[in-house]
Symmetry: C2
Subunit: 288 residues, 2 copies
């Protein structure tokens, strides 16, 4: 639309980024939000409807123009390699390798330090949701290190989760660290009807980004027909998932002012916000 | 770019439109310029670089969502059918027919009342320019009609360029009309180095839209290397073509303020203007 980009999300951690979906204009939306494409190592495609993937060849070419030589990974439903190769008829010679990951049950992979899990959604064509986790190791436990006879010169690297060989013996991080602490989790689900797989995979998310195609509760049958969701349905999923925060996205073009319907979600889940172009949050490990 | 769409042009006449090129976001640029996609019957693609064609599947889908059932024609370099079909992996079932016209020497075809001629450009890949003409018939000549014994009831339809059969005899428009009058001509050339084919095909254009990738005359060798043009080169072509008006387009992303270099073109061709998003002109038949 003239005043709204297609739904897309960029997750960044420690200089690496993951992009979710890339419809027409997403690379401009990234520029408008002052985000760089260079750190994007992984692109997660939810499904092959044009509003989620048509901007991909342009983005890949922009990366090429910016001098990228590092490989990139593109994950998506079964067939993602064929679809992207077909779209790239206008980007035939990229100066970097593109690796593809096709969805399969229980798919889990890493992009830098972000652990990505995929789960099935229920839309008019095969579609997948993603959860993203940043793990956080336990605190350094001096007593435990001493009990395990870990030599002092190994402590620092063990704390950084490296294995250390010292004087012929191998030391592992678990010999100096306490129990794993809560990390950060973000879950992204669009386009879909509500399913139990969504709230199960979104469990304990710090941020749950979910489609809300329609705000008006009277449009339920329309939402069902189109395989989309109401704001209130997204809010119910957020409650079931015990999410900390819900962002709504992927509004119908007929929904000019999403804020007008936010109360339908707030009545069910009070930590709901409407997504908008360039909306950003900085998620930190909790103070523990 | 954040504040500039990719080069594209919409020509409209009598409720029918022709679109030239469709890069990423062109359908949004059309909306911003308050132009409709419904009247577009023909899309002329100059070449297969992404900035000229990547928005095509999205546009075709938007046409589909708007209920189009009439066929559409897509013209372009040799292979245009294969390229568009490949891009349309994400638009597999359009509810209207797509006909393709591949470039060949001397290609000339009609879209409603617009006569379209294609000519070769000189770029890094096969690329074609287009001229568009609206013909204008001669004035109605009463003396001529009488001399040719054309019956009065046939006059009106003959003036509308129809053939008329009346009392067993066929009457043709040339029996009542004077010599053909000057029509309207628009020529579009991007991406290319200057060539004689360009000014020959742009001859007597009311509007000549030409690429001006670089404004600074010192960038000539760079322009040559990239197979693009300077503002001053476009202006020289406009002089050779005896064009009435020149619009520059397809600026390099490095050229933030094209107006800063317009003098380089004005020195050569005083009727030069910088193109910008949404720039519009209403061309009328001359008062003759």
């Amino acid at each position: 639309m003239k005043n709204r980009w297609l739904s897309s999300c960029l997750l960044s951690s420690n200089g690496h980024s993951v992009l979710i979906d890339c419809g027409e204009g997403t690379q401009i939306a990234l520029k408008c939000a002052e985000q760089k494409v260079k750190p994007i190592d992984t692109i997660c495609i939810t499904h092959f409807h044009a509003d989620h993937i048509s901007g991909l060849p342009g983005l890949l070419l922009t990366m090429s123009n910016e001098g990228r030589t590092e490989p990139i990974t593109i994950a998506g439903p079964v067939g993602v390699g064929n679809v992207v190769r077909s779209l790239c008829v206008i980007a035939p010679q990229l100066p970097y390798r593109v690796d593809f990951i096709e969805y399969e049950k229980g798919l889990c992979f890493k992009s830098a330090d972000i652990i990505i899990k995929a789960f099935p959604l229920r839309h008019s064509i095969p579609c997948i949701g993603y959860s993203f986790e940043l793990k956080r190791s336990g605190k350094f436990d001096t007593e435990k290190a001493k009990l395990n006879n870990v030599p002092l010169p190994a402590w620092s690297r063990l704390q950084k989760m490296e294995e250390v060989e010292y004087n012929g013996r191998v030391y592992t991080p678990n010999m100096v660290l306490g129990a794993e602490r809560k990390g950060i989790k973000v879950t992204y689900a669009t386009d879909t009807r509500p399913t139990s797989a969504i709230y199960e995979n979104a469990l304990d998310s710090d941020l749950f980004i979910c489609e809300g195609m329609f705000g008006d509760n009277d449009l339920l049958s329309h939402a069902k027909e189109k395989r989309h969701m109401l704001f209130s349905e997204a809010a119910s999923l957020a409650v079931s998932a015990k999410a900390k925060k819900l962002w709504l996205t992927h509004y119908s073009p007929s929904l000019k002012e999403p804020e007008e319907y936010i109360q339908n979600a707030l009545d069910i889940f009070p930590f709901t916000e409407c997504g908008f172009d360039g909306k950003t949050i900085d998620l930190q490990f909790p103070e523990v």
